[in-house]
Subunit: 240 residues, 2 copies
């Protein structure tokens, strides 16, 4: 893991860019005498780690006493992308906007993305836990499908907050029953791109005994500000 | 309003019993130099105000800086009950335990109870707000049907947390669309006595723009302790 740049933010959090082989990432952390618990945070479907809503949530958690890390998935964010990926992503966006069924595009494009992303998150986790300023335990936040895959394959994930969950590849819908880590699932009730019934079915399917659903009125990007605080309190209960 | 007894609790909260005509009630409040915001709290379907879970929640909110009041509905708690009421309540319990349809019993027994209870809560609200130690604003917590009726008839209700909502009389299911106060609906995912789909439909029906659903795994009495804290934070956002 090689740090390539750093800057100190207004709220005292140190933001550091890193690379880990070909994986680019960002680590946000406050100064701390004791090793910090870690939150891995990923935007749904491989959206860039620099996406402002993801960055805002990451910084807010860091200011509450967490090391927070994000990486870009292959073909996403700062990573080289293929013409085929670009076409698939454009087709997915078009179909969602048009209200057409997207399951097959989702399965053929997002399914493999999750398969490739999960091992990279585990590589990042190894490198991050080797830093002296990070001690664990480890939480996960955001991209539902990768969160499910990590939760069932990575015993170091102690708790997860997952967002939306209307579209999740078939493999992860199946794996949901095997998740046993405490969960907070965050749902926007009128999310145009995430069928509500499927998100509720996914919540029902999770195998964990300690799962909470928070639903709020409004569309995909309308999550109220207090849910970020609720998410931090969820992690406080499980990681501190 | 006549106070009939008082005792100081471990957490510093003063618990006072009162009567208001034939209505018996309890008021919990911490000492405060400034007038306190008020939370009216009622147990679903007219269960007694002395019910330990209701008392524990009320005390917890009081310790967070609220005056919290509860009254017994006619025929409930400390109030004289008729043989007909007793039979109806026993029949409702029996039918619920047996998993039989309870809509008609519910409609004929709980429906009128709500109709009678709501004006009594408004009488109590007038009397409570006349106390120098209580200044408002006013929140409501608990019994879903009475909360809906109060929210649509009583502009002083600034926010409400409602519990369950699987069975709500027809009149209040209709009125839900007219509720505009901010709402937190609390649902137990496996509540044996409250059909989940109906509770989700009720959440969908509320007319308010600012509504949040919290669902947790488990049966009717299994609400996790952190939801009491979440409820207080909801009131902090709207009443403080």
């Amino acid at each position: 893991m090689r740090f390539t740049s750093e800057r100190r933010l207004d709220d005292g959090v140190l933001e550091r860019e890193f690379t880990l082989g070909e994986i680019p990432g960002t680590l946000w952390a406050p100064d701390s005498a004791a090793p910090l618990p870690l939150i891995l945070t990923a935007h749904n479907n491989g959206l860039p780690r620099r996406e402002p809503r993801l960055v805002a949530r990451a910084r807010q958690s860091a200011a509450c006493g967490y090391a927070v890390a994000s990486i870009d998935a292959a073909g996403c964010g700062d990573r080289p992308r293929s013409a085929a990926d670009e076409r698939a992503r454009a087709e997915l966006r078009r179909a969602m906007r048009a209200g057409e069924p997207v399951d097959e595009i989702f399965e053929s494009f997002i399914g493999p993305l999750v398969e490739k992303a999960a091992p990279e998150w585990r590589t990042a986790l190894d490198a991050l836990l080797a830093l002296p300023e990070i001690g664990g335990p480890v939480g996960y936040s955001g991209w539902t499908a990768v969160g499910i895959r990590l939760a069932v394959t990575e015993p170091r994930i102690a708790a997860a907050t997952l967002f939306a969950g209307g579209y999740v590849p078939r493999a992860q819908r199946e794996e949901a029953r095997r998740v046993t880590a405490p969960l907070l699932l965050l749902l926007q009730w009128d999310d145009e791109g995430n069928p509500r019934e499927r998100a509720l079915d996914l919540f029902d399917a999770f195998g964990t005994r300690e799962k909470t659903l928070h639903a709020n009125l409004g569309g995909h990007t309308g999550t109220p500000w207090f849910e970020a605080e609720d998410g931090n309190r969820f992690f406080d209960r499980h990681l501190k």
